[in-house]
Amino acid sequence: MTRKDLITHLGLIAVLFALHFLLPTYHHGIFARVMVLAVYAIGYNIAFGYTGLLSLGHAMFFGAGMYGMGLAAYHFAIPALPAWLIGVGCAALLSLVVGLLALRTQDVSFMIVTLMFAQAAYLIILYFSEFTRGDDGFVVPSDMRAIGPWDLSDESTRYIVALILFSGALMISLWLVRQPFGRVLVALRENEERARLLGYDTGRRKLASLVISGTISGAAGAAYAGLFGYVGASFAGVQYSIFALLWVLLGGAGTVLGPFIGTLFMFYLIDLATEVTEAYMLIAGVALVLLTLFAPQGIVGEIRRRLWKDLP
């Protein structure tokens, strides 16, 4: 990891910290939410962007974290921090099990298998509705939404906790891709057969990548439940798997900063378009098509291609 890498990424964290003091209330809340969702995208980016595993089922990992945390708090009155760890553990376990099965397939089959697993996870949430409250979801008890004296429903606390989580995920992602392990993941993405010929155990590394990816995605889901107080099946639906893919593609797959930029861009694109017209999805759609045509590597990907060749 170069000094330049560190300065760039720590610089973003510093800017986000400064924004905590400067942003108007509405945008302050939105940035907190975007940071949590960007953690989900960072997790997805490790599997898709760096390892080339195009999953259409990552919402199940986000949902595992969310329900692991939420159900622990709701049914067993477990406080936020241990409940969050339970959520992260659920996502890690699920990604290990799904990885062991789904990684027996490749490419299109992998997409379909992950999609099916995610759909099964979604339907399990609905099936056990007496425990999960089905598609209505449930509100995380306010007493459980605190870490020590800090109330997670407080705007300021929420922002700082989201920033800590985001910073952790960002730096782990940066560290990971600059490690030999991370470079092997890129090699898998570029040419798995060649990596195997070079002697790498590609299956084990793909599994490790998927578990790391799923665990980070689950950490975001668990944090969302604690910070925003709601757990619902829609977060485990196929739509949220597509969101992660979209955010990463927009920001730049295989870039460390891309997931955050993509998530932020997508949010404000929709938010601003709603102020222009009721047909805001049309504006969003056109903008996405243009971006795909003229910046196919995503926003940060284009910066790397044109300006900064070794941007991680």
Partner: protein
Amino acid sequence: MTETSSKTKTGLISPTRRGALKTLAAGAGAAATMPLWARYSSAQSSAPIKIGFGKHATGIGAAYGRWYERTSVAALAKINAEGGINGRPVELVTEDDGTDPRRAAEVLEKFASQSECDVAFGTLFSHVVVGAAPRAAELKLPYFVVSEGHHVASGMLNRWTLQPGITDVKSQISAMAPFLTDVLGKKVTMIFPDYAFGYDHRDNLAPAIEAAGGEVVAKIAIPPTETSFTKYFPKIPRDTEVIYHVMIGPGVLTFVKEMGEFFGPSRPELFGFIDSLEATDLSSPGLEFLEGTYFWEGMPRYLQDDTPDYVKAYRDAVGLDANGASTADASDVSTSAHMFGCWETLHIIKAGMEASGYQSTADRQKLIEAVEAMTMFEAGPDHPQGTKMFNGKTHQVFGPQYISKVEGGKLSVVKTVPYEETLYDDEVDYTSMSF
């Protein structure tokens, strides 16, 4: 799960942030001149009251969103024509929530801190309400939902979320059960969608039917992804006297058509919730089988012979023809059984603001307390659906329920159940919770 605990927790680094904002505010204040300040202060009192409307403009609830908006616009036109609220005009600030709980929470944030709305209102789909309500409490934004879910009265939500304009599923079912057992038959098979809306019916129908002297002989859950229903009909017990169905979504027409083909002319009695066919023309091909069957309606879709003048005025204001479709487009059928809740809720917001002397967002708590203190809403221009009783403790209203029969392809009201017969025991006391 309640939110009764007093808040002793604190925020991280909040004094510094607030300090920074205060410094900015102080700087701006120092630059301002006294006449400008005085003029702003004067303008504030006559500035419009802003009501944030979370509209299901896209997503699964879009048909409802369209009619909820039309009803809300019509209600505000009436309220403004009558002098507004506390002498101030009222304005609707509409945002699409995509029928999505995350977006709905963001929309509430936008209402509270960017659009500077006084209250938020309008949400229908229960998962959207449950997802957004915690945010309303955090923002201390009065959140008036028009959802009919039991989630408000069950105690799942919070003191800032109220449902004073539409009844909930539990009371609707308890009102229907005696009619089913007394008139249609005592052995009931229910067919319901296998998710939350269906579960409200599944969980509440059997006790209500048993209390009315009947029996639910089978409960058939149908997954929401199902597109053909023929394999479920053989599961209906032979001794079934009444089929109670609450299927909703795009598969409803197929469901009815296939049920008609299965039973032919010798069918049991059928009773359904009009939710199945909201915004759907009863003369659609395949629905002929429903002739002679019964439906619950929150408010009659078709103009009845004895419709009171204030209901006619409401229908005219919203733009409904005699068939409950848009006067501008006869194929655009309304969501009559639910959308009246928007009209009535807006009038309750008006009454609450006037009772509490509402002036600014600083009075939001007083508004909640004023609405909680309400008890009766008499039928009339403000409450065209009928006379209702509001329970301030549970934040839930109880009102009349209508049972209609399909005759000649139209729904005719055959029985009206008064609110007194729809009550059930309190499950929560929101007034004991802190703000």
